[in-house]
Structures are given as C-alpha cells and as structure tokens.
C-alpha cells in the first residue's frame, strides 16, 4: 500500500539509509504506512483473540454453548434456535427503577441455539490452527528443497526442479482431495494437505535466492573459515533471505483461510459441530433457503473472515514493498 513511492524507479527504494539495517529500514518505512500499521494492529488483536478462545478462556466452545438464559438470567437446557440478532432488552419489573437487563445474542443463534457471535470468535482459533499447520509444513519443505537446489546445483537441482514442476502440474484442489482421501477427513488433515500442496511458489523463490547468494563474498568467507555446507546454508544464507519467507507467510495465511472454506464445503474439513468460518458459510446455503431467511451466520462469518484476510493482504503487500520491492507477484 506504499503507493506514494511508486513514482521512483523501484530499484532506488531498496537502498537502505546508511547506519540502518534492512529490517530497521523496512520497519521505518512500514511505520509511515497508515494502512499497514492498522492491519498490524488488527492482526495482533486477531492473534490474541484466537489464542484466548483456543484456550477456552473466552467464547465458549460448542459443547459448552448448549444453554440459553431464561428470563431470570438462569441457564436452562431449552434452546432457542435461529433467534434473530438483538442487543438484549430491559424487562420491566414491579419495583420501579429495578428493571432487569436480559442480554440478547449480538449475531443471533444458529440451528441448535448456539450464539453465532461466539462461534465467529471461536472461528478465529480454527483459522489460526489451520494456517499455522499449513505454513509450518510448506515453509519447511520449500525452504529446505529450495536451499538444496539453489546451493548445490547439478543433479540435486535437476531432481528438485523436476519434483516441483511435477507438483505444480497437478491441479492443486484435486491433489488436496486425493490427499484427504488418503489421510482421512478433518481440519488437521486438510491443513496438512494444504501445506503439502502449497510449497512450490516459495521453493522457486528460495532456489533463486540461494543461487544468487552462494557466490557472495560473505559465503566465500564462511567457507574459507571451514564452515560446512549446511552451516552456510542455514546459518549464513537463510537469515539473509528470510524476509521472503515472512512475506510468503503473510500472504499464505489468506490462502489457508480461504482453502478451509472451500474444503469444508466439499465435506473434507470441519465437522458439522465445529465452529469454523467455512462451516458457517457452507451451512448458509440451507439457512438462506428458510423462510424467513437466516442471514446472520453467513454475514457474521464472512465479516470476520473479511477483516482478517484484508489485514493480512494489506500487511503482506506492505511488507513486500518495504522488504523486497523487486519481488512482486
């Protein structure tokens, strides 16, 4: 989103001010970008909420949500399905000035009377869980293979290039489907499949970076001092190319969240009782067909997803502009 700087030739943007590291310079540039700062704050809040709800400290998870409060504020087992969103209301009592506030459901309730807002909050944890598993898998595969291919070259490079070209050839969604046939259904397996499929792009970039860096002076110096190949690759070159991993992680997060939705709809991801955003959007197909239409679950889940995805998209873009302007798309 750093639009003001595009009038300058791109290459001049990379040059850091003297006395400031690449990261310091990038941080300085990011801080001036209002949208990036806002996105960063949103992402921090999102992570905070997701972890708290993952720990069950906020937003009851699905098996604790099977209750409703009766008019006296006590829990009952009776469920109020598909109640409309409301802010709650004041109930008149006989004593003046002692009216009782009955809390409502901010985003209504779903088919089993569970609070939709709490389910949207729970969805943050599920999306984080899927995205983290996926990222861990694809980043490890991509960095390791990219490093080997770029650093060693020769037949190792040929073999790895063959491997990623083959993986790229197979339609991603079908490969994921085939993998979940093999691994079984469920959110964890979907996340693994997304990771196993998603490494090609980053691997290509890492290979190019390692190829570029392996002839640099600092690598030659390290080798002259007797450092082994793996030490050079992962202690010397990797830190210098790690910004690419971070950019890829930020933009890959969106893919994980979107992927979960599609795969859950296909029936491979979240189970019906799990409060994932994909589950809530998928269920809306039947809920909107009801009379009157139940629109609040899909609106709630889509809004939650939209805010998080928008923040990651903007931050990813800003990071890319700040850390590596040459790396566009």
């Amino acid at each position: 989103m750093d639009e003001e700087k595009n009038t300058q030739p791109v290459t001049q943007e990379v040059e850091a001010k003297p006395g400031r590291s690449l990261w310091g310079d990038a941080f300085h540039r990011l801080r001036k970008d209002k949208f990036a700062v806002m996105s960063f704050v949103i992402i921090v809040i999102y992570l905070f909420v997701a972890i708290l709800s993952g720990l069950d400290w906020i937003a009851y998870n699905y098996d604790k949500q099977h209750f409703k409060r009766d008019k006296n504020g006590k829990e009952t087992t009776e469920l109020d399905d598909y109640s409309k969103p409301s802010l709650g209301h004041w109930r008149k009592t006989d004593v003046p000035g002692r009216d009782v506030y009955i809390p409502g459901h901010l985003l209504g309730t779903d088919v089993q009377g569970r609070d939709v807002f709490q389910r949207v909050v729970q969805g943050t944890w599920i999306s984080l869980y899927v995205a983290l598993i996926m990222s861990m898998i694809y980043i490890v595969i991509a960095v390791f293979l990219g490093a080997l291919a770029g650093y060693f070259g020769g037949w190792v490079d040929d073999l790895i290039q063959w491997f990623y070209q083959t993986t790229a050839s197979i339609p991603g969604l079908l490969l994921i489907i085939a993998l979940t046939f093999v691994l079984g259904k469920g959110l964890g397996n979907v996340a693994i499949a997304l990771g196993v499929v998603g490494w090609v792009g980053l691997c290509r970039l890492m290979r190019a970076e390692f190829l570029k860096h392996k002839g640099r002076d600092y690598v030659l110096a390290a080798r002259a001092q007797g450092a082994g190949s793996f030490r050079i690759m992962f202690r010397h070159i990797l830190p210098n190319t790690f910004h690419i991993v971070i950019i890829s992680f930020s933009l890959g997060f969106v893919n994980a969240i979107m992927g979960e939705v599609t795969l859950t709809f296909i029936g491979l991801g979240a189970k019906p009782e799990q409060p994932s955003w994909g589950r809530m959007i998928s269920d809306a197909r039947a809920e909107l067909a009801r009379d009157p239409a139940v629109w609040w679950p899909i609106v709630g889940a889509t809004t939650g997803m939209f805010i998080v995805c928008l923040a990651f998209n903007i931050l990813g873009d800003a990071l890319r502009d700040a850390l590596d302007p040459k790396l566009k798309e």
């Binding site: 989103m1 639009e3 003001e4 595009n6 009038t7 030739p9 791109v10 063959w162 491997f163 070209q165 083959t166 993986t167 790229a168 050839s169 197979i170 339609p171 969604l173 079908l174 490969l175 489907i177 085939a178 993998l179 046939f181 093999v182 969106v254 969240i257 979107m258 939705v261 599609t262 709809f265 296909i266 029936g267 491979l268 955003w277 994909g278 959007i281 998928s282 809306a284 197909r285 909107l288 067909a289 239409a293 899909i298 889509t302 997803m305 939209f306 995805c309 928008l310 998209n313 903007i314 873009d317 566009k328 798309e329």
Partner: protein
C-alpha cells in the same frame, strides 16, 4: 523452430512420468487397497467382499506389475469405469468438458479484458486517487471468500430479486440465461487478483529504461502506454493466461455445484462425496497433462511473439 518444439516435447516425458508416479503412490502406497476397499464398501464389509474388490481393481497383483499397468492405463487414457455409476470415465469427461468450458471461457475472457482495462487506468493515473481506489477495491474484493460470493449472489440476485434463474442448464443457445449469474460471480470474485497482477506487471514495465528514453524523446504518454508498455507487459500476462487455461476445462467445483451445471467440477464434487477413486485419479491425471501442455504452448508462443527468446 521445429527442433525447438521437438526438444520441448521431450522435456514433457519426465514430468508426465512424475505425475504418473505421484498418482500411483497416492492410491497404492500411501493408502492401501484394503483402506480404499473399506471406504468404498463401508465399515461393515467382510473379508471376502474386500478381497473381491481388490481382485477386480487389480490390488492383488505385485506392486511393480500394478505400477506398470497403471502407467500404461494412464498414458493410453484408459481410465476404466466409474465406481459409482459404472459409466466409462473417458466419455464422462468428454461430456462434462463442454458445460465447464461454456461457463468458464466467456467469464475468463471477460475477466482478463476488464482486468487489463482497469490495470491500464491504474498505470495511466498511477499515484492518483483513481489508482488508489482501484487498488483498494481489488484488495477488498480479494478478501471475501469465493463461497460467500456464490451463496450471497445466488440468494440476492436469483432468489430475492429474481433477475436470473436460480440454477439449471440446457444444451444449445438457451443456456445463456443460466450462465450469466455464475459467470458474473466468477468475474467479481477473480477480478481483484487479476487487476493487481496486471497492474504490477505494467508498473514494472513503466519503470524500465526504454520508457524513460521514449518519454525523453517526446512521445506522449498514451503512445508510450499502449504501444510500448502494453506490448511488453503482455508477455507475463500471456504466461498467466495460458497457465490458467487447463482450469477452464476442469471447471469450478463450487460454481457448478450451486448453479446445477453438469460440468467436470460438479463431477469431481460428486466423486468426492461418493468416494469414487477412479474418477479422482482420472481427473488428476488429465488436469496435470493439460497443465503441462499449456505450459509448452506458452513457451512456443513466446518464441513466436518475442524475438529475444533464445531457441535453446
């Protein structure tokens, strides 16, 4: 030129072999015949039923025999029959391809045209409010789930406002009315990503030295943009388009399911729900082969379009 094409064709061999290998490993080593038989026949299948299933599907033979028969079957496009409907898979794919194409091809062409137009506007008015608005709307469009576009679009435009039929398909020109809404939703959902990519490509070109030279010798902005920048930007754009073509054949799982279009996407979804391994295997292989061929076509296009490409 011919020598170049022949050499590129030889590059395909290892990739197609790799695709065969991965498909084979997925369905034979990572998961075993027993596991597949159990999923197909249900949890309560007895041992005889499982053995019979394994025998009819060739899982009782040694692994090397299975590997070579599977490669032979795949490269001769002999995919066998569906495990659910028992139709021939090749004819199912042939029948399903046309509905998918009829939906995806016009929608895709429209997306690319609109995308390039917006990107040109963005590049022409770069760093003004026009450019910024286009970028912001693109990113907002990219942040909404495709499924939400489909469900909300169908509900609002078809159920509530009744501008379009809710779902359906027919052969012949009457199909047009069924394809407008899903096509529109495809365009909406994918436009943001395209605009952003095209804009990046064009801005990269605008920052090149030859543009500065052209400007220095006094050419006006429009001539530079349309004659110089667009022409050079077309190279990465063509790559992206060519690589997307196979996906147009394969259709869209979600769109076809929601709008009742009997294409390959809907077929894949049915196969997933019915545990039809044969169809998933066939679609995976055909998709991969089409992707490889599309890449080859893309490379050959370069050789024709761009005199700088070396025919090594």
């Amino acid at each position: 030129m011919t020598a170049y094409i022949v050499r590129r064709l030889f590059y395909l061999v290892p990739i197609v072999f790799g695709v065969c290998l991965i498909t084979f490993l997925l369905f034979n080593v990572v998961t075993t015949g027993d596991a597949i038989a159990k999923q197909r026949l249900g949890q309560h299948a007895n041992q005889e039923q499982i053995d019979a299933y394994k025998k009819t599907h060739g899982y009782d033979k040694p692994i090397f025999v299975r590997f070579f028969t599977s490669i032979y079957d795949l490269i001769t496009f002999n995919f066998g029959r569906s495990e659910v409907t028992h139709q021939k898979i090749t004819s199912m794919i042939w029948d399903g391809m046309w509905p998918s194409l009829s939906l995806m091809l016009p929608a895709f062409i429209f997306t690319v045209m609109t995308g390039i137009t917006f990107a040109l506007f963005s590049a022409l008015y770069r760093n003004t409010w026009i450019d910024r608005t286009i970028v912001v709307i693109s990113i907002i469009g990219m942040s909404v789930s495709f499924l939400a576009y489909i469900i909300i679009g169908q509900y609002v435009l078809a159920y509530q406002l009744k501008y379009f039929p809710v779902a359906g398909y027919e052969w012949g020109f009457g199909v047009f009315k069924f394809l407008i809404l899903p096509g529109l939703i495809y365009v909406l959902a994918s436009l943001g990503r395209r605009v952003r990519f095209f804009r990046t490509v064009m801005l990269d070109e605008i920052n090149q030295d030859y543009v500065r030279t052209a400007r220095a010798k006094g050419l006006n902005q429009n001539v530079i943009l349309f004659k110089h920048v667009l022409k050079n930007a077309l190279i990465p754009i063509i790559t992206q388009i060519v690589v997307t073509l196979p996906f147009l054949f394969m259709g869209s799982l979600l769109l076809e399911d929601f709008y009742g279009i009997p294409g390959l996407g809907a077929m894949a979804l049915n196969a997933v729900n019915g545990n039809d391994f044969a169809i998933i295997r066939a679609l995976t292989f055909i998709g991969a082969v089409m992707y490889v061929i599309a890449n080859l076509v893309g490379d050959i296009c370069y050789a024709f379009v761009d005199p700088r490409v070396e025919l090594r």
